[in-house]
């Protein structure tokens, strides 16, 4: 019993990275209607920037994360402003293809800049150590990650429910014409939302740096999982993305413990079943 509980808790910490990745993906889809294949690459860039500031230049951990968010935000801005903007009214095949092109580009760019060797910066001292939970040592850092994930969830909820900007965004998500009719500047909103999503991805990547591997291709390795999550939860649905991430993270954790052979299979099975039973996702309307 304790074993299962502990395993679940570990899976939960894994799920939080997925949540941060999926959140941006689903917001961008919900508002811009673009399924951003390159979203994982922004996650990767977040990791690389955080590594550079914190691991290479020894900037303070928190500052490094902030800086990496800003840097990726800039990348996201350029991406939206000069490329994505031109294909909003195109078939989603073209949107997928364009962003797929950027996966290839970013994967090679980081290799040119940072080389092929996997990077892992040191763990900040204040995160060292473990806490005994269910009679077993559980890393502080994982607790921190879970906390961060939950915090982001709350903040997002506040932003979209309580702030003026959030309302504007929701309006333009539900009905562009209507929104622009009541004077919402759609292009600005779109750019804003995309940059925002990029920063969420970057946050996920940056928070992973002390414990995970920073290497070319980590983004494209995770994007499919993020797709699965957003589909399970309902495309464009934040609550769904959170639940979906938790499901995927925890289920695969148990998969590894209980039936290791089918772990890979499992997640896709879940997605297929959800799609067939409730194509709009668990929380989709």
């Amino acid at each position: 019993m304790e074993t299962l509980a502990f395993q679940g808790l570990v899976g939960l910490s894994v799920a939080m990275y997925l949540w941060l990745l999926a959140a941006g993906l689903t917001i961008v889809f919900g508002v811009l209607g673009v399924l951003n294949f390159a979203h994982g690459s922004l996650f990767m860039l977040g990791a690389y920037f955080a590594f550079t500031f914190y691991g290479l230049w020894g900037v303070n951990f928190w500052l490094a994360i902030a800086l990496s968010l800003v840097s990726v935000a800039a990348v996201g801005y350029l991406l939206e402003r000069f490329f994505l903007r031109h294909i909003y009214n195109q078939d989603h095949a073209y949107q997928l293809l364009l962003t797929f092109g950027f996966i290839l580009i970013f994967d090679d760019l980081v290799k040119m800049v940072w080389g092929g060797v996997a990077k892992i910066p040191p763990m900040p001292d204040f995160f060292e150590g473990t806490l005994r939970i269910f009679g077993r040592p559980y890393p502080f850092y994982n607790l921190f990650i879970i906390g961060a994930g939950l915090l982001v969830a709350v903040v997002l909820w506040l932003i979209f429910e309580k702030t003026w900007w959030g309302k504007m965004v929701r309006a333009s998500a539900s009905d562009r014409e209507m929104a622009s009719a009541i004077g919402v500047n759609i292009p600005t909103i779109f750019t804003g939302v995309f940059v925002f999503g990029a920063m969420l991805a970057a946050l996920g990547g940056a928070l992973g740096t002390p414990v995970r591997v920073v290497a070319p291709g980590i983004g494209s390795a995770m994007i499919i999982q993020a797709f699965i999550i957003t589909v399970i939860g309902g495309l464009g649905n934040l609550k769904g993305a959170f639940v979906g991430a938790v499901i995927v993270g925890v289920v695969s954790a148990y998969g590894i413990l209980l039936f290791p052979v089918f772990e890979l299979f499992l997640i896709f099975l879940i997605m297929a079943v959800v799609l067939m039973v409730k194509p709009q996702g668990l929380f989709g309307s």
Partner: protein, 443 residues
């Protein structure tokens, strides 16, 4: 030459990016020529050229140069490039210069086969080498007879390559200079059979043939010597595992005394660091990281080793480690490699460096580039290499040489950790011998 030495890895890759790997080797050839004029080539080199009937001997290599494992391909490229520069500087082989073309196998068998075909039938390579992934090796092997080339495998380690394809199917064009999975599985069991307190083993292994065969062989052999040990749990990690916490937690749930693990490259580093976070090293008596002796991995855990976080319980091996054997050949190799690329060589650098010299020896022996002759020359050849004396077993074309197992420790003479407290076993004692019985893999 001197300015050539200073070229850093990055600029080297940039050059490669712009002008293509081939041209780099061409550059190397030029350097060679320059050298040649200085120390005026031995007179017999000129007529010798006729022996081979070519001015340039073309050598085609491949490895992973994209994605998370890109450093392995780079090491193969670096090792072979250095060997070719040296040989060309001394006038080439029987007066013919060497030219290298290197391609990305992407860890995709189909791509590896395409590369092999291109290098052999289009670009005109006389000799093939490299290949990182086992799947790619198993795919390239059967094609070699059709394209009529020898391929010297420098990393791919599945036992099936030599046991099934060479000894079984009789594909004579396959040779392997690197130690196969016997290294991580059988050798480790020979070491750990002598740890009476370690009774409960767990595994965290790659979710592909490499992991399966390593774990199976390890269990099979250890059980022979130690009927009392149990294998209490196993977690399989597919390529691109982004987080090992779940795997570690899963196996630790069974309170093992020791853990046997295969994930390599960046994934290996991540695995070890997350194991530290989860306090694994406070509970277990030993952790065997199969390819933990690889330079990129040692670089990755340098800090933790220095801080003694592994409590001296981290064991590892590799297909070559830079501090063994303590021979002039090896010292010279490591030194010039560090000069040339200002990094330490990992095993694929040594195996591919030696792969070129093995080829040189074979050609000089039979004074021919014909595949059939090369096979004759290579079968049963033994040669001194940085990794020690290598003997190519005629039955399965597997190179026999010793690589020790050791604890990962810090040594003031090296910038990164090394393997110390080395346990050396004669290779013939832990290599499987023909005729081969298939390994049963229950997973």
């Amino acid at each position: 030459m001197s300015e050539k030495k200073k070229i850093s890895r990055r600029t080297f890759l940039k050059a490669a990016a712009v002008t293509g790997i081939g041209s780099l080797a061409w550059g190397a050839g030029r350097v060679g020529e320059a050298q040649e004029k200085k120390e005026k080539t031995p007179a017999k080199a000129k007529p010798a050229k006729k022996v081979l009937g070519v001015d340039v001997i073309k050598i085609g290599g491949q490895g992973v140069t994209s994605g998370a494992h890109a450093d392995y391909g780079w090491q193969i490229l670096a090792g072979s490039t250095m060997a070719i520069e040296e040989i060309n500087a001394k006038g080439g082989i029987l007066g013919s210069k060497l030219e290298l073309k290197f391609m990305d196998e992407e860890l995709k068998p189909a791509v590896a086969v395409k590369n092999a075909r291109y290098l052999a039938t289009e670009w005109g390579a006389h000799y093939l080498f490299g290949v990182d992934s086992s799947g790619s090796a198993m795919a390239v092997g059967p094609v070699l007879p059709e394209i009529d080339r020898v391929c010297m495998f420098c990393h791919a380690s599945t036992h099936r390559l030599t046991e099934e394809l060479v000894a079984g199917k009789g594909i004579k064009q396959i040779f392997r200079i690197a130690a196969p999975v016997y290294q991580e599985s059988i050798l480790s069991s020979l070491i750990f059979k002598d740890f009476p307190n370690i009774k409960r083993w767990a595994g965290i292994h790659c979710d592909y043939e490499y992991g399966y065969s390593t774990w199976a062989l390890f269990k099979e052999t250890l059980k022979k010597y130690r009927p009392d040990v149990e294998f209490v749990s196993i977690a399989w990690a597919p390529f691109w595992t982004m987080d090992f916490s779940s795997h570690i937690a899963a196996v630790m749930a069974a309170n093992p005394d020791a853990i046997h693990a295969t994930p390599w490259a960046g994934e290996g580093v991540m695995l070890l660091r997350q194991a530290l976070m989860l306090g694994v090293f406070d509970k277990i008596q030993a952790w065997f990281q199969c390819m933990g002796g690889s330079v990129d991995l040692l670089e990755g855990i340098s800090r933790e080793v220095e801080a003694g976080k592994f409590k001296n319980n981290l064991w590892a091996t590799a297909r070559y480690i830079h501090n063994y054997p303590d021979t002039p050949e090896n010292r010279k190799f490591v030194e010039s490699f560090r000069k040339r690329w200002n990094r330490l060589p990992n095993y694929s650098a040594e195996t591919s460096y030696s792969a070129i010299y093995v080829f040189k020896a074979a050609v000089e022996k039979v004074r021919s580039l014909k595949t059939a002759d090369l096979i004759k020359a290579l079968e049963g050849m033994d040669l001194m290499t940085p990794g020690g004396k290598r003997f190519f077993r005629p039955e399965d074309h597997q190179a026999i040489y010793n690589v020790p197992v050791g604890r990962v420790i810090k040594d003031p003479n090296y910038p990164i950790p090394i393997l110390g407290d080395l346990k050396v076993f004669p290779a013939k004692d832990y290599y499987r011998n023909p005729p081969f019985a298939p390994i049963k893999m229950d997973k």
